[in-house]
């Protein structure tokens, strides 16, 4: 319990799914108050707040304070696409490391039930006269004319590109990844979907963007997650039970794309994830084979495959064999997305990067109930926000 370590003292997520009667503030407040209670402190001790939300009106941090406790502390409203939650954690982590506060709060919340495709809304209509506009000098909207801008389509290509490079991919292979995550979520009472889908059901569901059918896409839903972080120095002063349940953040890393050929043509989610993973393993002194569980950003089934490789859970180019070996099922050597992942637990964008950490932390505390990975000591949580930003956190249970 070194003084400059940062720990998770309390953490919580709401049920992911439809919350028609709760607004953003209700969901953020529920996650926050549960995380604060889990930490055994009050809003009075919190010295810094980072809050993420993409689809509300902005200023979610202050709006949350007005419902749960206004103490005058600095608020950082953060936005980093699907990495927003991890970014909130990262901001609080940096503030604590910098000595700015002893306790900090990170919150992410989204209302996304019924939001459709994440396609960037409706394509604008063509204007009455063709006139070049924007950075490509285009006379009309590009989506559908110069490739696709939908998330299912972009991530489908990312999975297909892996198949082109290394071989072995197929529609069925990607569908079986989704089958795994939907099977896992049957044990997660907070997941949006808790029903097991058969492989046939997955492959014969509505095709969204080949090879991703609907259940192979992240589930749009409502939800929030929150975490209370504490410095190692402050943790030493707390009660034995708080120290026992605290989870160590052994690495907290955020990366963006270094420039590479093609990275501005088709988003490259590989290099920045690999860079984040490498730095996280180095910082934590942990090897991929040490991981007892991994929550990674399966925004689409095609994405999960490439991240086995990017997080170095398998040899380079070996993701297909790795999956086929059964390694990533909950009884395998490296259980991946035992929560059900984004495909089944759901993906309320800004909450995801904290909810993934909640899942790992809950196993490390031995409090995951029916889906507990026995004896879990170290785990990794990963998110990608297209654009791109990658967050990787390595967590370890208290000794």
């Amino acid at each position: 319990m070194a003084s400059d370590d940062v720990w998770i003292l309390g953490i919580s997520m709401t049920r992911f799914g439809k919350h028609p009667d709760a607004d953003l503030i209700d969901l953020a407040a529920e996650a926050t108050m549960n995380a604060i209670a889990d930490a055994g402190i009050t809003m009075r001790e919190i010295g810094v707040l980072a809050a993420g939300n993409l689809r509300g009106g902005g200023g979610i941090g202050q709006a949350l304070q007005k419902q749960v406790g206004q103490t005058g502390i600095p608020v950082y409203n953060v936005a980093n696409a699907c990495a927003t939650g991890a970014t909130a954690i990262r901001v609080v982590h940096m503030a604590l490391r910098a000595g700015e506060a002893d306790f900090g709060l990170a919150v992410g919340v989204e209302k996304l039930a019924g939001a459709g495709l994440l396609a960037g809304g409706e394509r604008a209509g063509d204007s009455a006269a063709w006139a070049p506009q924007g950075r490509f000098g285009a006379v009309g909207p590009l989506d559908g004319r110069i490739g696709t801008e939908t998330m299912p389509g972009v991530f489908a290509q990312i999975g297909m590109e892996y198949g082109h490079r290394y071989g072995g991919t197929s529609f069925e292979l990607f569908a079986r990844i989704s089958e795994k995550n939907h099977a896992h979520s049957t044990l997660n009472p907070l997941a949006s979907y808790q029903r097991r889908f058969t492989l046939d059901e997955i492959m014969n569901d509505v095709m969204i963007s080949y090879p991703n059918t609907r259940p192979m896409c992240s589930a749009n839903c409502d939800g929030a997650a929150a975490a209370v972080l504490v410095t190692g120095a402050a943790l030493k002063t707390l009660a034995p039970e708080q120290r026992r349940r605290a989870v160590k953040i052994s690495a907290s890393v955020l990366t963006t794309d270094p420039w590479e050929e093609a990275c501005q043509v088709l988003p490259n989610v590989n290099t920045l994830t690999r860079n984040a993973a490498r730095r996280a393993y180095d910082t934590a002194g942990v090897d991929p084979e040490d991981l007892d569980l991994v929550e990674l950003h399966d925004c689409f089934a095609t994405a999960e495959l490439v991240h086995y490789d990017n997080l170095m859970l398998c040899p380079e180019g070996g993701a297909v064999d790795f999956f086929n070996s059964g390694a990533t099922w909950r009884d395998g050597s490296t259980p991946v997305n035992v929560s059900g992942g984004l495909e089944s637990k759901g993906h309320p964008i800004s909450a995801t990067g904290i909810a993934n950490i909640w899942e790992v932390a809950t196993h490390l505390r031995g409090e995951a109930g029916d889906r507990q990975i026995p004896g879990a000591r170290v785990g990794l949580a990963h998110v990608i926000g297209l654009g791109s930003a990658c967050g990787v956190h390595i967590l370890e249970r208290a000794a």
Binding site: R145, M160, E161
Partner: protein, 131 residues
């Protein structure tokens, strides 16, 4: 003969239609959009270069659901044109997993987008299978 305009400014029409890229004179990185500086080496000097009209499909998807107003299904792809990656639709090929293959050899082809109120036709590009 109605007047025509390219759908994007990096498409050159005429007898030999092709794409052009902005190439960094310092490091050779290529870009299709208007540039402030090079994202690779931060240089600010660019020259316009022709992009090969022949390439190979490095990744594709068959989009079945898109934003309202976008006709589906269509094939979106990343095409490797002699080392320069290009985003485009695949055209003149059935939008089915049987007809489209990774590694497929393709070439640039033009496709009409529509005519505006002044009678000007916008022409875009895609890639079609090479015989």
């Amino acid at each position: 003969m109605p007047q025509t305009v390219p759908f994007v400014d990096y498409l050159v029409l005429g007898e030999r239609p092709h794409l052009v890229a902005r190439e960094c004179t310092a490091c050779g990185a290529r870009f299709f959009d208007r540039r402030n500086a090079c994202a690779s080496c931060f240089g600010t000097s660019f020259t316009q270069v022709d992009v090969s009209t022949e390439g190979e499909v490095r990744a594709f998807t068959i989009v079945a659901h898109a934003a309202p107003g976008v006709p589906v299904p269509f094939v979106s792809a990343t095409v490797d044109c002699a080392g320069t990656s290009v985003r485009a639709n695949l055209i003149n090929v059935a939008p089915t997993p049987e007809a489209v293959r990774l590694g497929m050899k393709v070439r640039l082809a033009l496709t009409p987008v529509g005519v505006d109120q002044a009678g000007t036709e916008a022409i875009s590009f895609g890639f079609e299978p090479r015989p």
